[in-house]
Symmetry: C2
Subunit: 250 residues, 2 copies
């Protein structure tokens, strides 16, 4: 594949990294392909080779590509992507044609992780944390009545789960907040929520709030599972094979 379809104003290295990163995330190039040479990229976007190098360095850091002197730049496989790099999450946010397999993997992860995180939050949340969770929940409730406010609703949804992760009070769990935004935004773009579905989802979120307020870890875990199962239905994710990816021995 070539650079032809890509064009946008490139202000700095971050801009270029985002443009190329999103192209890679949407399979504009396929794993194993040879990525265009630095000088070609520089010529196409009208920037210096130096800036291109800075951008490609970022792409390499996220595992999207691998560069070796003399050989060139190779596009890497999904299995090698650093899904937990915040930059990757940022690039994924708002992409309409995100790799479906990737979406499934992220949901499978959340399905297994979020009950634990929510349980932790129930036992570790401070008054401050609880307040943030409740505020986000109220925002969700306020925006659940109209189909026009789907995007605003999604933002509150992100804030809600983010607040839960923060409330776990663990540095590692808190880093995974970044995975929430792309995965929740994808929900908005792919599913046509009926209002009754939104209502059901809201009720399930409410049970998380209650459990955390009572400090009941068991209940919190159960409630978190209920929310994610609802989400999976809305996304129509194939349930049985959700946590399987191709096997390899590397």
């Amino acid at each position: 594949m070539s650079l032809d379809t890509l064009s946008a104003h490139v202000g700095d290295a971050d801009d270029l990294a985002r443009i190329l990163g999103r192209a890679l995330l949407t399979s504009h190039w396929l794993p194993g392909d040879l990525f265009p040479r630095e000088l070609d990229v520089a010529a196409h976007f009208g920037v210096s080779r130096n800036l291109v190098r800075n951008a490609l360095t970022q792409l390499a850091a996220t595992g999207l590509i691998v560069r070796t002197a003399g050989r060139g730049t190779l596009v890497r496989d999904l299995n090698d992507w650093h899904l937990l790099d915040p930059r990757l999450s940022e690039w994924m946010s708002g992409l309409v044609d995100l790799n479906p397999q990737l979406l499934r993997e992220i949901y499978a992860f959340r399905l297994s992780a979020e009950p634990v995180v929510t349980s932790l939050a129930a036992t570790a949340a401070s008054a401050d944390d609880l307040q943030r969770i409740e505020a986000a929940f109220e925002g969700m409730a306020k925006t659940a009545t109209s189909a026009q406010k789907r995007l605003e609703h999604a933002e509150y949804d992100v804030a809600f789960h983010d607040a839960v992760y923060q409330a776990s009070h663990n540095l590692v769990w808190r880093q995974m907040e970044h995975l929430l935004r792309p995965s929740i935004l994808a929900l908005v773009q792919r599913s046509q929520h009926s209002l009754t579905a939104l209502d059901d989802s809201l009720a399930r979120h409410g049970r998380i709030v209650e459990a955390i307020r009572r400090g009941d870890g068991e209940q919190a875990a159960t409630a978190a599972r209920a929310v994610l199962e609802r989400t999976a239905e809305d996304l129509r994710l194939a349930w049985p094979g959700i946590h399987s990816s191709q096997k390899e021995t590397t």
Copy 2:
């Protein structure tokens, strides 16, 4: 703080990033401090400013520092570190004086996450996965008898848990393998394993193997918890507050 105590041969940008990254990880500079200017770093290590910039770009990507034009380079707080960045894990590996709070956070994370991962592994492991797990376990057994083989034993230990994460067959969980090495190596450096303690630990690992072989998720989770509790004892981690970090409203 200054660069004075740092000196080593710098071959490329990765070398320099590792040296500076480790210095930051061991609190050679404190959060909020102004990091030395690019030209000073370049002069000290006898390399070009360009190479320094490449190294600092990596440090910024891991959240260790933040750079703003005109202002300079600031050292960031532990809360902002991207603990899931593989490079950070690599820099952490082998550090003897790793921040104790950081170690506690990583262990708290593993204590909550690993039961889930192990349970997933029990239901998703292929024959290949199981074979790798068993091979690592046998390596652990073989090296558990002598105090001289602690390092070799640790490597098998890493391989064991790594294989379990891989067996979960989830792209996100598999990324967290990187956290294992520093956290297991820290165990070797800090605790003086008695041989009976090693024997106990080995037995607990064995129960994980059995559970996965039987495909019993519940048992696998329980066995994983047992292993980590043993580990915590060996590390003498303060148990009650293990999953608490300072609260903040960011």
